[in-house]
C-alpha cells in the first residue's frame, strides 16, 4: 500500500467499470465451461462406476490425487503441452471438479432406495428408462449439492489462472492489485468473486428447488 493515497477509491471503480465488467464476464464463462465439462466427464465416470463398482476405488484415487496437486504445479506440468492458454486453465479447473462431482453423483445414485428400484423393475421399466425417469430425478438434490460445491470451488480457483494470463476477477486481484499495491482493485476483485460464488450457490439451489418440488412435499402439504 502506498502511503498518502486513499485506501479505497470509488472513482477508480467508476472509471474502470468496463474493465471490471469484462473480467467478471470472463470469470463467469471460465467457471461455466469448467463446471459443465467437469460435470459431463464426471457423469460418464459415475455411470461407468455404476456398471462396474470395482472402478470406484481407482477413479476416486486418481481424481483425488489430481485434486491434491497444487494449482501452480499443475500449470507447470501442463504449460509444456498446451502452452499459456485458456485450454491449460480449463484443463486444470475441470480436473479439480472431478473428485467432488464423481463422488456426489455416485453417492446420489446409490442413495435411491432399493424398494424404488425394485418397484421400477417390477413395473417394467427398461434399465435406461429406470435411470433417466426414476433414479436420476430422485438423485437430483444430491447431484445439485455436488454441483454447488464444485461451482463455488471453481469460482475461487479461476482467480489463480491469472498467473497464466487468464483469470477473470483474479486479474483485478493480482495483476492490477497486488503487483501494483492497489487496494481498490483487490477489493473489487475479492468482493465480486465472493458475490459471484454466493449468487451461483443460491441460483443453483433455486433451480434445484424448482426441479424437485416433491422433496419438500412433507413440509408443504398436510398428510
Amino acid at each position: 500500500m502506498i502511503p498518502g493515497r486513499p485506501f479505497f477509491q470509488p472513482q477508480w471503480i467508476v472509471d474502470n467499470l468496463d474493465e471490471i465488467g469484462r473480467r467478471l464476464g470472463e470469470h463467469v464463462v471460465m467457471t461455466v465451461i469448467a463446471v459443465a465439462v467437469g460435470f459431463c466427464i464426471s457423469f460418464g465416470l459415475a455411470l461407468l462406476i455404476r456398471g462396474r463398482p470395482r472402478l470406484y476405488g481407482p477413479v476416486i484415487g486418481i481424481t483425488g490425487t489430481i485434486y491434491s496437486i497444487p494449482s501452480l504445479a499443475l500449470f507447470a506440468l501442463l504449460i509444456p503441452v498446451t502452452g499459456i492458454s485458456l485450454l491449460t486453465a480449463e484443463i486444470a479447473l475441470v480436473s479439480y471438479t472431478l473428485l467432488i462431482l464423481v463422488r456426489n453423483i455416485v453417492t446420489a445414485l446409490e442413495g435411491v432406495s432399493p424398494d424404488v428400484i425394485q418397484a421400477a423393475d417390477g413395473m417394467g421399466y427398461t434399465a435406461r428408462q429406470r435411470l433417466w425417469r426414476v433414479e436420476l430425478p430422485i438423485a437430483l438434490p444430491v447431484i445439485v449439492a455436488g454441483l454447488r460445491i464444485a461451482t463455488v470451488t471453481t469460482i475461487g480457483l479461476v482467480a489463480v489462472t491469472t498467473l497464466i494470463g487468464m483469470g477473470g476477477l483474479g486479474y483485478l486481484i493480482i495483476n492490477s492489485g497486488i503487483q501494483r499495491f492497489f487496494a481498490t482493485s483487490i477489493y473489487a476483485g475479492v468482493i465480486l468473486s465472493v458475490a459471484l460464488a454466493v449468487a451461483a450457490d443460491l441460483g443453483l439451489l433455486a433451480v434445484q428447488r424448482r426441479l424437485t418440488p416433491w422433496a419438500r412435499a412433507r413440509e408443504g402439504q398436510p398428510s
Partner: protein
C-alpha cells in the same frame, strides 16, 4: 372406500402354472432356493405363498415376472410361457406391489398410478382418465390426492396408491410381496378387508407372499406352504390345511392353536347382527334413557351425526339432563368390518370393557353388533364356515 358404480371393465384373472420350477443362486452343487415346485393357480384366485424365511416364497414369486430367472422348469400364464416375451413387456402385463410400496417419491400420486400405462404409451387422455378411475376404486378422492406427492401421504394411503398403480394397466395377474407388512395391525386389518372387497370386484389372479399364517388364512383361496429349501409342503384351501395338515412341519408351522385359527376362516358377515340401542351426540339424555328402558338393554351405542360409533354409554352415563356429548361415552373396541375375521373380532371384543363388537360399513357407519356368544357358538359347531 367410495362406492364405484363406474368400476373399470375388469380383465379377470388368468391361470398361472408353475411347472417343475427350480432356482439355484450359487453354482451347481449348492442348495436350491426353490426345489421342483409345481402348482397351478386358478384364474381369479388368491394364492398365498407362506413359509419361514429362506423358504423361497419371494424367489418363487419373482420368477413369475422374471425379476429372477428360473434355473429350470417354467411358468405359464394362460398357457403362454413367460419366457416368450421380453422381460420388461412381461412385467408391464403383471401387477406388482411390494412391502415398502416403493412409490416413486418424485412423482405425484396420479403420475405414480400412470407409470405402466405411460410405459405402454397409452394416449394422455386415457392415462389421466384411468388414473382417476383407479384412485376412486381404491377409495382416494382424485381431486384431493392426484396432485400430492408420496411424502405427504399416510402409510395406508401409500398402500392404496401402490395397489392402484399395480392395477393400472388392468393386468390379469398381480404379485403382492408382503403388501401389508409395514403397517400397524389395525390398519392392516382394514387394508386387508378393503383389498378383499376390491378383489371381489376385479377378480384378478393374485400371488401373495407373506410370512404371517393368519394373514394367509384370511386372504387365501389356496395356501402354498413352503419349507426351507423351497420345497412345497402343502397346497390346499385354508380350511383343508387347518383341518388336515399334510405333515408335522405344516402342523407345526400353522401352530398349536389351530382351533382358534379356524376362526380366521369365518367372517363377521357370517354372524347375525344384533340391532344396537343407538343415541346420537346432541340428543337429550332423558329420551335416550327411555329408549334404553324400552329395549331392556344395558348399554347405548353413541354415534356422531354420520352414524360413526363413538363409544358406549351405561345407565350411569345417562343420568341427569341435558344433551349427550362425545365425552360421555367409554370408547369400545376398534370397529369391525363385515370382512374382518372372527378371530380379529374376538380379540378386539375381549380387549374392550363392553364385550360387543361394533360392525361398520365402508363409510364407518354402524351396521350392527356382534356378541362373543355368537362367536363361541361358531367355535363349538367346530366348523367355521368358509365364505
Amino acid at each position: 372406500m367410495t362406492a364405484t358404480p363406474s368400476a373399470p371393465p375388469a380383465r379377470t384373472g388368468a391361470v398361472v402354472a408353475l411347472e417343475h420350477l427350480s432356482k439355484r443362486f450359487g453354482p451347481p452343487g449348492t442348495p436350491l432356493a426353490v426345489d421342483d415346485l409345481t402348482l397351478t393357480i386358478a384364474a381369479g384366485e388368491i394364492c398365498v405363498l407362506v413359509g419361514p424365511s429362506g423358504c423361497g416364497k419371494t424367489t418363487t414369486m419373482k420368477m413369475i415376472n422374471r425379476l429372477i430367472e428360473p434355473t429350470s422348469g417354467r411358468v405359464t400364464i394362460d398357457g403362454e410361457d413367460v419366457m416368450a416375451l421380453p422381460a420388461v413387456e412381461l412385467r408391464r402385463r403383471i401387477g406388482y406391489v411390494i412391502q415398502q410400496v416403493g412409490l416413486f417419491p418424485h412423482m405425484t400420486v396420479a403420475d405414480n398410478v400412470a407409470v405402466v400405462p405411460r410405459l405402454l404409451r397409452w394416449p394422455d387422455a386415457r392415462v389421466r382418465e384411468r388414473s382417476r378411475e383407479l384412485l376412486e376404486l381404491v377409495g382416494l378422492d382424485p381431486a384431493t390426492y392426484a396432485g400430492r406427492y408420496p411424502a405427504a401421504l399416510s402409510g395406508g394411503e401409500r398402500q392404496r396408491v401402490g395397489v392402484a398403480r399395480a392395477l393400472a394397466a388392468d393386468p390379469p395377474v398381480m404379485l403382492m410381496d408382503e403388501p401389508f407388512g409395514a403397517v400397524d395391525p389395525i390398519l392392516r386389518d382394514r387394508l386387508q378387508n378393503e383389498f378383499l372387497r376390491l378383489q371381489a370386484k376385479v377378480r384378478k389372479t393374485i400371488v401373495f407372499v407373506t410370512h404371517d399364517v393368519d394373514e394367509a388364512i384370511k386372504m387365501a383361496d389356496r395356501i402354498a406352504i413352503l419349507r426351507r429349501g423351497g420345497v412345497l409342503a402343502q397346497y390346499d384351501t385354508p380350511d383343508a390345511i387347518l383341518s388336515a395338515p399334510a405333515s408335522e412341519f405344516v402342523e407345526h408351522f400353522v401352530g398349536a392353536d389351530r382351533g382358534l385359527k379356524r376362526l380366521s376362516l369365518g367372517r363377521v358377515s357370517d354372524l347375525p347382527l344384533i340391532a344396537p340401542v343407538l343415541a346420537r351426540v346432541g340428543e337429550a339424555r332423558l329420551l335416550v334413557r327411555q329408549r334404553l328402558d324400552a329395549a331392556a338393554g344395558d348399554y347405548v351405542l353413541l354415534t356422531d351425526m354420520a352414524d360413526r360409533p363413538i363409544g358406549w354409554l351405561g345407565r350411569r352415563d345417562l343420568a341427569g339432563d341435558g344433551a349427550l356429548t362425545d365425552a360421555d361415552a367409554t370408547p369400545g373396541s376398534a370397529p369391525l368390518q363385515p370382512e374382518s375375521t372372527l378371530r380379529d373380532a374376538l380379540s378386539a371384543m375381549l380387549a374392550s370393557a363392553v364385550q360387543l363388537g361394533v360392525v361398520v360399513d365402508e363409510h364407518d357407519a354402524v351396521l350392527g353388533l356382534i356378541s362373543v356368544d355368537a362367536i363361541s357358538e361358531v367355535l363349538q359347531s367346530s366348523g367355521g364356515s368358509n365364505p
